[in-house]
């Protein structure tokens, strides 16, 4: 696990802090960034791992960030889990489904989130995603 990194992209500071607290309390490290631009620059810097991506963010939302990521070829080696307060997928995700590994609605159960992250980390460790 230690070599698999986890990044939370969310404009809500409270959520970033809360998830950080929880992960740290459970002995895991998590990077948090407030927006798509920061996420992309971390990816440019070589981040690979599980990305927990909020959908609704100012300036650059989750979908645009993923689109950008794909366009820049930064997506391989990452597992993207979408976090949203909305109940259902929206039309903006059209064409991006294949880059998304999971979809979690807020408010999520922190343990379930952690379990997912661990699960996808293992997947990544075993060669996921294989479509790229």
């Amino acid at each position: 696990m230690s070599d698999i990194q986890v990044m939370l992209v969310d404009d809500e500071e409270l959520i970033r802090d809360a998830v950080s607290f929880y992960f740290q309390a459970k002995g895991f490290r998590i990077l948090t960034v407030p927006g798509g631009e920061e996420c992309l620059s971390l990816l440019e810097d070589g981040f690979r791992g599980v990305i927990l991506m909020d959908v609704m963010m100012p300036r650059m939302d989750g979908w645009r960030t993923i689109r950008e990521m794909v366009e820049r070829g930064l997506h391989p080696g990452n597992a993207i889990v979408m976090l949203t307060a909305l109940d259902e997928p929206d039309e903006r995700m059209e064409g991006l489904q294949e880059y998304i590994i999971d979809y979690m609605t807020k408010p999520f159960d922190p343990q379930a989130l952690l379990d997912s992250v661990l699960y996808y980390s293992k997947l990544l460790g075993s060669g996921y995603p294989n479509h790229v």
């Binding site: 809500e12 409270l14 959520i15 802090d17 809360a18 998830v19 607290f21 929880y22 309390a25 609704m56 307060a85 909305l86 109940d87 259902e88 609605t105 807020k106 408010p107 999520f108 159960d109 922190p110 343990q111 989130l113």
Partner: protein, 662 residues
């Protein structure tokens, strides 16, 4: 509609003919009667005149029939001293010497009356001309007493009166007046003769009174003549009534005719009143209809296709913005107003309806002559009428304001939904850290009381989360389904998925949920919604079921669709709760204080079922006896609430009015 006045004319003609006929009949009757009456009056007049003449000339008649006078006798005592008068009446008959007048040659009259055997004598001077005592005497035959005239100027008269001494000079020749009641002309001294019982003085006939009059009521002709004495003063009035049987018959006939005529006129009057009242009612009904149409901004019309005859209600002209006068109602007039962009669609719809003899409903824009563009809704029904012709009947309503309102309402509902979604999102985001951190804090909390408080906080946060989630779901499911979203959903598999959501909970409660649906059964639906539907029903059933009980899910299929049911052995429902449980936030009393159940689950179920054109209802034998929720989902072709591909969403599909049991 425009009406003719044919009925009016008929009634007027009939009334005129009847009244005219009646008038002629009565006029003829009247003329005939008048003629006969005139004849009779003349006849009777002659008779009467003869009678009067006869009574005025007793001397002529007395010889023939004395009794003729009996009815005329009336003596009146006169105070005039120049007259001596004896009243001859019934008393007279019982006395032999009832009265005695003695005229003396010196002009003295000795008047003696003997009443009841008591002699009275009266003397008075009487200017009786001397030497002319060819006096009169008479006695009715029943009198035993005879009268004797002395010829010396003394007359003894028994039972008679002397009225006009002047007449003695003209004895035997009545000249206008006379000593009535006495046999004049036979008054020779020493002769005896009869005297009638009475004396009447009459004037000459030519001074008589009115002619005969006909009394229409009794049918009699009456003649009246004032009879005067010699002095010209009235003595009595002679009234003679004579019956006229033929006139009476005629009068009866005339009365009958008049009666029949009156009855006919009455019948006609009743008829006229009836027609007038009916017409008034019709006018009122038309007026009410027009008022109703004005209020509804609706006009009605009717068209006979083959004959090309159109009739429009008054308000249709107003709705179309056309003047009532001068507009020819017709399909072309109507087409000329339809918005050019909608014209071909409208034309096609109407022509198809005529061709297929079917109904139609269409909304379109209409450009009024003043340039105003209005939205209209036209409904029509074409049908065959007698003779194989086609008649189209329908209405056209101005729904501009209505559609504007609907559009506004639709916007408002969208805004409301957007607001709820936004609110849900805004609630969910801050809930995330709360939900994430509360368990952590709880884990680190050593103080048992603080830990309990944190549990409460966590439960409350969960509750907020659930309400938010359910509300968002309800909003999401409120959107009508698009036909493209529908697919054949294998019911048993979807129900299995829903059961699995609560597998852990059911295991803890030792509740068994049996999915007894045949794998062959499928519904034409949106899979996620059907799973949500059964998940909600199972959640409810589990919640109200006692430990160790069984929940059964079954389904059957027929020509109309699929009927599924979820039956539990739980708390059951009272009859009055059966309808209410589907209402938003409804909770039966026992669950009322349960924060964990927002009361939206069955509302979501109802919405989902409605989306699929089905119905849902609850059945329960009573409290504590379990509940069965039944769902009917129609087959694809029977689904009414699905928006066809490419169509705009319809506001009314939000309504859940078809949710009733059927």
């Amino acid at each position: 509609m425009r009406t003719t006045h044919r009925t009016n004319k008929m009634i007027a003609l009939l009334a005129t003919a009847l009244v005219a006929g009646l008038f002629f009949v009565l006029y003829d009757d009247f003329n005939h009667l008048s003629g006969v009456q005139r004849e009779r009056v003349v006849e009777k007049q002659i008779f009467f005149d003869q009678m009067v003449a006869m009574k005025s000339d007793p001397l002529r008649r007395l010889v023939l029939d004395y009794s003729f006078w009996d009815d005329m006798v009336k003596f009146v005592a006169r105070p005039d001293p120049r007259w001596a008068q004896g009243n001859i009446d019934s008393n007279f008959a019982s006395y032999q010497h009832d009265a005695l007048w003695i005229f003396r040659p010196n002009g003295e009259l000795v008047y003696s009356v003997n009443r009841a055997g008591k002699g009275l004598e009266h003397r008075a001077p009487f200017p009786l001309p001397t030497g002319n005592m060819g006096l009169l005497f008479a006695a009715k035959e029943k009198f035993t007493h005879f009268f004797v005239a002395t010829g010396q100027g003394v007359m003894e008269v028994f039972g008679a009166g002397i009225y006009s001494p002047g007449n003695v000079e003209r004895r035997g020749e009545p000249a206008g007046f006379f000593l009535s009641g006495m046999l004049w002309g036979r008054a020779h001294i020493g002769e005896l003769s009869y005297l009638t019982r009475g004396v009447v003085m009459l004037q000459s006939p030519e001074q008589a009174g009115a002619d005969g009059e006909w009394d229409p009521r009794s049918g009699e002709i009456s003649f009246t003549r004032a009879l005067a004495g010699i002095d010209g003063k009235p003595v009595k009035t002679l009234v003679v009534r004579m019956e006229t049987p033929d006139i009476q018959q005629l009068a009866r006939e005339m009365g009958n005719n008049a009666l029949i005529g009156t009855a006919l006129v009455a019948v006609l009057a009743v008829l006229v009143v009836f027609v007038l009242v009916s017409r008034q009612r019709l006018r009122n009904a038309n007026s009410n209809l027009d008022a109703a149409q004005r209020t509804a901004q609706l006009g009605s019309w009717q068209r006979e296709v083959e004959r090309g005859i159109c009739s429009w209600s008054d308000n249709l002209y107003r709705v179309l913005g056309l003047p009532i006068k001068g507009t020819v109602p017709g399909l072309e007039t109507f087409y000329s107003l339809v918005h050019p962009e909608d014209l071909s669609r409208v034309r096609e719809t109407i022509e198809r309806s005529v061709r297929e003899k079917s109904g139609y409903e269409i909304e379109f824009r209409l450009v009024r002559p003043d340039g105003a563009v209005r939205t209209m809704r036209s409904k029509g029904e074409a049908c065959l009428v007698e003779g194989g012709n086609t008649c189209v009947v329908g209405s056209t309503q101005d729904i501009t304001e209505q559609s504007l309102m609907e559009s506004k309402l639709s916007t408002l509902i969208r805004q409301k939904d957007a607001f709820i979604v936004r609110l849900g999102h805004d609630l969910k985001s801050p809930l995330t850290p709360l939900m994430a951190l509360l368990p952590l804090v709880r884990e680190r909390c050593a103080d048992a009381e603080a830990a309990r408080m944190l549990d409460i906080c966590r439960t409350s946060a969960s509750h907020i989360e659930r309400i938010t989630a359910k509300t968002l779901k309800l909003v999401r499911f409120s959107s009508p389904l698009a036909s493209a979203d529908l697919e054949r959903v294998p019911l048993a598999a979807v129900v299995d998925g829903a059961i699995n959501r609560y597998a852990g909970l059911m295991a803890r409660e030792s509740i068994v949920c049996k999915n007894e649906i045949s794998p062959a059964i499928g519904v034409h639906a949106v899979s996620t919604q059907i799973e949500e539907l059964f998940a909600n029903l199972i959640s409810n059933a589990v919640h109200f079921s006692p430990k160790g009980s069984v929940i059964r899910i079954t389904a059957g299929e027929d020509a109309q669709g699929v009927m599924a049911s979820v039956r539990d052995e739980g708390a059951g429902l009272e009859p009055d709760q059966l309808e209410n449980i589907f209402e938003e936030f409804y909770k039966e009393d026992e669950a009322r204080h349960e924060l964990g159940r927002p009361g939206l689950g069955l509302t979501i179920c109802r919405q989902i079922v409605f989306n699929h054109g089905g119905s849902i209802w609850a059945e329960s034998p009573g409290r504590g006896k379990g509940t069965t929720i039944r769902i009917r989902l129609p087959h694809a072709e029977n689904v009414m609430n699905i928006v066809p591909e490419g169509a705009s969403t319809c506001l009314t599909s939000r309504s859940c009015s078809s949710m009733t049991k059927n």
